[in-house]
Symmetry: C2
Subunit: 489 residues, 2 copies
Amino acid sequence: MNAYAALEQKFARIACLNEASSMLGWDASAMMPEGGAEARGEQLATLAGLAHEFLSAPDIGEALAAARPETDWQEANVGLMREAHIRATALPRELVEASVRAGRACESIWRQARKDGDFAAVRVALGEVVALTRESAGILGKALDLAPYDALMSQYQRGITAADAEAIFTRYEGFLKDALPRAEALQAARTKEELPPGPYPEAVQEALARKLAAAAGLKFSSARLDRSAHPFCGGTPTDIRITTRYDEADFASALMGVLHETGHALYEQNLPAAFRRQPVGEAAGMAVHESQSLIVEMQAVRSDAFLGHLAPLLTEAFGKTITLGGLKNRLRRVQRSFIRVEADEMTYPAHVLLRFRLEQALLSGDLAVADLPGAWNDGLHSLLGITPPDDRQGCLQDIHWYDGAIGYFPSYTLGAMAAAQLMAAARRALPDLDDGFARGDFSGLSGWLARHVHGLGSSLGYNEILAAATGEALNPAHFEAHLTARYLT
Amino acid sequence: MNAYAALEQKFARIACLNEASSMLGWDASAMMPEGGAEARGEQLATLAGLAHEFLSAPDIGEALAAARPETDWQEANVGLMREAHIRATALPRELVEASVRAGRACESIWRQARKDGDFAAVRVALGEVVALTRESAGILGKALDLAPYDALMSQYQRGITAADAEAIFTRYEGFLKDALPRAEALQAARTKEELPPGPYPEAVQEALARKLAAAAGLKFSSARLDRSAHPFCGGTPTDIRITTRYDEADFASALMGVLHETGHALYEQNLPAAFRRQPVGEAAGMAVHESQSLIVEMQAVRSDAFLGHLAPLLTEAFGKTITLGGLKNRLRRVQRSFIRVEADEMTYPAHVLLRFRLEQALLSGDLAVADLPGAWNDGLHSLLGITPPDDRQGCLQDIHWYDGAIGYFPSYTLGAMAAAQLMAAARRALPDLDDGFARGDFSGLSGWLARHVHGLGSSLGYNEILAAATGEALNPAHFEAHLTARYLT
């Protein structure tokens, strides 16, 4: 066996372990009785430990040095293998273990601190997490020839730097200053159409969610939909597991949630089968993944065309009159708010921008951990003109940072902007796309995405995928045009 | 770390991989969409391959040589580790691979051959399986200092030999000759009380099954009940997964099935936690496991006392009159039949005895594979006085043998007989046991089993467990007394 083929085999074994972990993770959230938690933790730790052991083993380094890839895809695959091997070996074991311990300890303290709105309680623990992350970022950056923050950011999304993102965010900041008050004024001037009060029976919601997910392209012969406290998309490309939660007072949360996860699922389903279990055959990163959930949930499903199709479907399913106006009011409202996960699509990037800047400042040391609450409140006020009444609704609201995840937040907005740009390109390529949405037919969009995004796997990075699919790297004008069309006309 | 502690750590890692496999196996049967089958096969093969690799690694051999166990349990643990290591290393890799291939090929041919009732079609493939199994049994026997068939039998159940079992089966054969016609005559003389026709709604069956399983001791905080084509008990001690299937025409099959699996589950739930993930902390073998499912399903649930409690419960749940007589007629009838899995408890051992003798003859070469159908039919006729009309209802009925499992069948009857003996001992120790059953209270029995069987793990073998719990090695008189009391009075 030549060195390249041996590498493929080694990475396929690692991928099998990760697939097992993914299924067991799904089970832990959707099926497992509480008594199983401790044993599951051990099982997952064993699988993750083995995957890391194999990935960092010297035989991988030797095979990487000897491998002679013969195609562009093989070349890209080897590049990704090399990066993964470097990431797995660059950090001293003591630093990795200290980071895991610090993240766990801080997360645990944060849970109580958030309840109490007491940032001081978690300050020292967060300082420890930040210090260790800074050390890791420096080492990884050297090994990968990246700036420290980029070394963190690129583990979530390759192919775009913090400098690229900063330019995009700065432009958005200017757009928002003008657009938000105008959108609010237009919204206030319109009659507010309400949806009829619930209950919206869970079983009806679920049947409808299944029907719409299937219409959007989810193959239930290779997928399941179940319940969990926090919705997610897991599993493997031929065995996708999506979850949601139901609220009988509000059908929209589960329905939009399922369609969001369906977007993620379509990506996984359509990854290049020839490179299954290879790094180059995986999804291209968190931002591209989020673009796929948002192009379904935000771009297609919330389009005028599809909402016009959806309203009578909902009316029939629930036996209550759901008007198009009521749906639009529920699904397309701007609202300045403190909590990121509740934000609308126009203000959401402001929450991300705030965190993006703060986490870079924390990492560089320009911002002391003790000064985070003040910097947070000032930042949010500068962006949205509102100030959180307490840290619970401020810098304590998200688990990220406290669990050690730094560099992850930008993916949300890079995803939303990519979704708008991809949708604009799909509409140019397929002029009757919205006619399809008006009939509940997503096949035009899903086929286009399968060809231009899903099928590329990780062969390209973020901006390269956008360039290949749309003719240009990320251009925030498309996101602005989308928001303008939806909220400012 | 001393050598013994290192061994414990190595075996715990192997056990974690096996736990992951067990959960993924449950998922494949109870949850997985069909599209996931191929990927799941790869995941399971990877996990099994790693477990085997770790178990057979030289460092285990070295640690076994150096280990100085300090307690009886540690001593027993090391003994089981040594046996597992020998089993994992004794066979040449080529022979293992050839056996796996032969078993898979034969099983696949058997599926069609059974449909067609065409033994000739699978004869050559079965011959290959038998020849390879003979070779393996010879090598394992030498390595473990056991007779070849005992080397196979002991991988399913330690602590009893084929010679012990033969004596027991011969005695049963004599008992059956006399008892079966008498039981049939008594049964024919009684009025046959029928249960009311269905439907028995699945949801009601399931609710009742859950209630009764919980009453029998199943902790649903550490267990699930789901559906699968073939009922089983899987999972791990703190996260048990039992399954059943429902037939709306007949509530008894699912209900008895769930209570059978509950017996298995109680055993797993009550294994010694101090030796979790160690060989000595596992269940003692297939026969002891089967004794635990049967002591619940056959001994306790089908007792006069419990059926008297169950009849009004069923009547209330289904809104149909279920009489005690109807229940007894459904759950306690003898019937000569061709198919093992449909057999009653009096004739079931005859099916096992037949296979036990035939598989030994195949393995030794005394019986040629080509002569199996005739030997089967003669054997069944000699035991039960009936002859299968075709091989589909004869030697083609079971997957075992064709998939390479030889030495497994005796466990069923060794389990049934142990269940009768354990129940007799529990009744001696707890004179009010049946008063509890009459109230639907299994706590006396489950507590006694936890102390005398479950908590012992694999520290003792089959006959040793019986001796410790009941004062004697297996004595078939208890099974005969049970059948006599239930069917001959």
